[in-house]
Symmetry: C2
Subunit: 416 residues, 2 copies
């Protein structure tokens, strides 16, 4: 057969997403499958059952990462297609689930067509990608990639006060398998979770890497005084200093331009009353850029903005880094493969960086990795109204099929 004409079954893919979406379904739409809850166990059980039905050999590692392996003619480096099936508390049907279930759809397509591959194919579902119940996020891939010791991960306590190791054992997913030892390539299909592809009417996002992220918490300390009786010259207005910082962040990211993004998403004033000058402001600054040097420069400008505001409003301040992730560049050869596959399928593409974190950036420390994005309607994600059109889901899965085959080397067919 001609491998180039092989296509996944779009309707079956949508059915897979809808079926998983019934597990932890929320009234009115969306799902809640927080990591290692009863609902997520339901999702895991379903996934394992589907993997077995497709003939995959299922392995569970000590952090509960699930691997379903389709043997290759050789035992040589596995080609891994993965993502996660945990969700935020009010999540949608696509974030994470798409990458895993499109992997199953790729396997089903190969099974149906009787296509064997030289390298094994592994479908992976990593534990606690969202970080909504256990911090940090991307935990399963992090431990799998030796970025954190297993023992430390098992001791993490959830937002509801439960030890991760206990919760893992309680749902029966504290496995003893090692998982794939050698990975030749990792591909993750994911919804964009942003508005760019939809806005520019592009079908496939060719993800070059993940932006670096810097989160800074700033605490501004001023003096709580009466808004009516305190002359301006005697004020130490923490709220005004916070506003100047937030406006300054808006200005600096616009001046840097390009891929630079920056957000002051949280501001908390104390006492937060109409007629009292705020004595304290706690705020967060989220800066992201794909280039580490630009991100560093932005952070230096932030420090200047903060200091200028503090001096101007006669307040003191302290800062704390909440997160500081360097940018991740995906493997250029794999990125090219994604672009080539999309183009061969006649799909429009755009090279882009991911603004959100993904398991792929962690696996990139272990093996060549790349990602495929499909459009998110209105850029909405982490929300019950998250939606990607069936045609876009199928496009993404077909690109995934093609890049998987390009690396796993079909025995009984040819990639053009």
């Amino acid at each position: 057969m001609n491998i180039n004409t092989l296509r996944i079954n779009g309707e079956r893919l949508v059915a897979r997403l809808k079926r998983l979406g019934t597990i932890g379904a929320l009234d009115g739409g969306g799902v809640s499958r927080l990591a290692l809850t009863t609902e997520e166990k339901g999702g895991r059980d379903h996934l394992v059952s589907e993997m077995k039905a497709l003939g995959l050999a299922v392995a569970i590692d000590p952090l509960g990462n699930i691997f379903g392996t389709r043997k290759g003619r050789t035992a040589g480096p596995a080609i891994m297609l993965g993502s996660h099936i945990d969700t935020v508390a009010t999540g949608g049907l696509y974030d994470g689930a798409l990458g895993v279930l499109a992997g199953l759809e790729v396997i089903a397509t190969l099974n149906d067509a009787g296509v064997e591959t030289e390298n094994p194919l592994v479908i992976a579902a990593f534990t606690n990608e969202e970080g909504a119940r256990f911090q940090p996020d991307m935990l399963g891939s992090l431990v799998f990639a030796k970025g954190m010791a297993l023992e430390d991960a098992l001791e993490i306590v959830s937002i509801d006060g439960k030890r991760l190791g206990d919760e893992l054992a309680a749902i029966g997913y504290a496995g003893s398998d090692a998982g794939p030892v050698e990975i030749g390539a990792y591909f993750e299909l994911h919804i964009e979770q942003g508005p760019v592809l939809e806005d520019e009417a592009i079908e496939i996002g060719v993800v070059r890497g993940v932006q670096g992220i810097s989160w800074t918490e700033i605490t501004v300390s001023g003096r709580s005084t009466h808004a009516g009786t305190t002359p301006i010259r005697l004020r130490r207005d923490a709220g005004l200093a916070a506003a100047r910082i937030a406006a300054g962040v808006g200005d600096l990211v616009r001046e840097i331009g390009g891929d630079m993004v920056g957000t002051v998403g949280a501001i908390n004033l104390t006492p937060n009353l109409v007629n009292v000058v705020a004595e304290k402001a706690v705020m967060t600054v989220d800066l992201r850029h794909p280039d580490a040097a630009v991100l560093k420069a932005a952070h230096e400008r932030l420090v200047a903005v903060i200091n200028a505001a503090a001096e101007r409003e006669d307040v003191t301040l302290s800062t704390r880094m909440l997160a500081d992730f360097p940018p991740t560049d995906f493997a250029p050869a794999l990125v090219d493969s994604v672009e080539d596959a999309a183009k061969a399928l006649g799909l429009s593409t755009q090279r882009m960086f991911s603004g959100a974190g993904h398991d792929a950036q962690i696996i990139a420390g272990l093996a060549p990795a790349a990602m495929i994005f499909v459009p998110s309607v209105n850029g909405i994600s982490h929300n019950t109204t998250e939606f990607t059109a069936p045609a876009d889901l199928a496009n993404g899965a077909n690109v995934l099929l093609r890049v998987a085959l390009s690396r796993a080397m079909p025995i009984n067919g040819e990639i053009a």
Copy 2:
């Protein structure tokens, strides 16, 4: 005797303040006498008892305002010295209490010296000045001055869900007396509740009037999007627009200068998360100035700032006036009397406007009124650490004595 050498008893005044401060006392200092609570009834009972001990005829009006009258030789216009004894939930010993208890101290001083006056002297304690339990504030004086119908006031529901009329009856202060019919002058001694007198080492603030107040609530509506995946050009960042407005308020009040004050004391972002562009911001703007025209101009500049921020950040907004009080000018002759009395006592003075609201501004609609300010340490008020030094308390009460006598006309003595 020479009236000019008559002085109040500073120690006795402090003792009065401390004694009232035991009623509703909080552990660790300060008091809580929210209007018409059991604690405030205790304060009222004590005040009435003290008034009677000083020979005053006590009258309670239908809104619970308390009037203690010391007869004059004629029935003619009463000279009223007043304030309030309710407090905020965590208040101090001086706000309000000083004006009432210094009034008692004036009476005690006249009694001790055997000084009679032509006009009656009335010590007044108005109901619910703080507005901390029932809205609006300055309610007792407002109803007394016919600024609100009694029936409407009785229907007001407290923050704890109780009807004012019921609470008044429950504590036994729904009186049937009319209170003084004709008022020749009203004087209110009060702590400054601001830092100006202390900062400039001035002993007596000669209050010319009360600033006009404009409170605007602004609701900014943008779009909640991912802080990492949403390019700047596709954002509608309600938080950034709010920050630009708050910084703009800071700028405009500084540009206007002089007595202009403006504060953004409250900002609430939704969802208020580090990695989500805010979809909504609700903020307050407090603008104050003693000149109605300047206040109006400031408000017009605020509207321009708001509209510019909305256009720049592609957000929509709505505004709501939470308060809009015109400036009050006190009676020039009475203001002069306060200044003259302070100078005659060898005290340093500064003419100033009150930045906070007081019963005096309401009574000013009914009769000539003026206020005397004494320094607040660190400008702190509405706080358990509120403090005014005994010498300052005595200075204020001596000015009060002197201006009261200047209007009530002592029969057996002379004012210089």
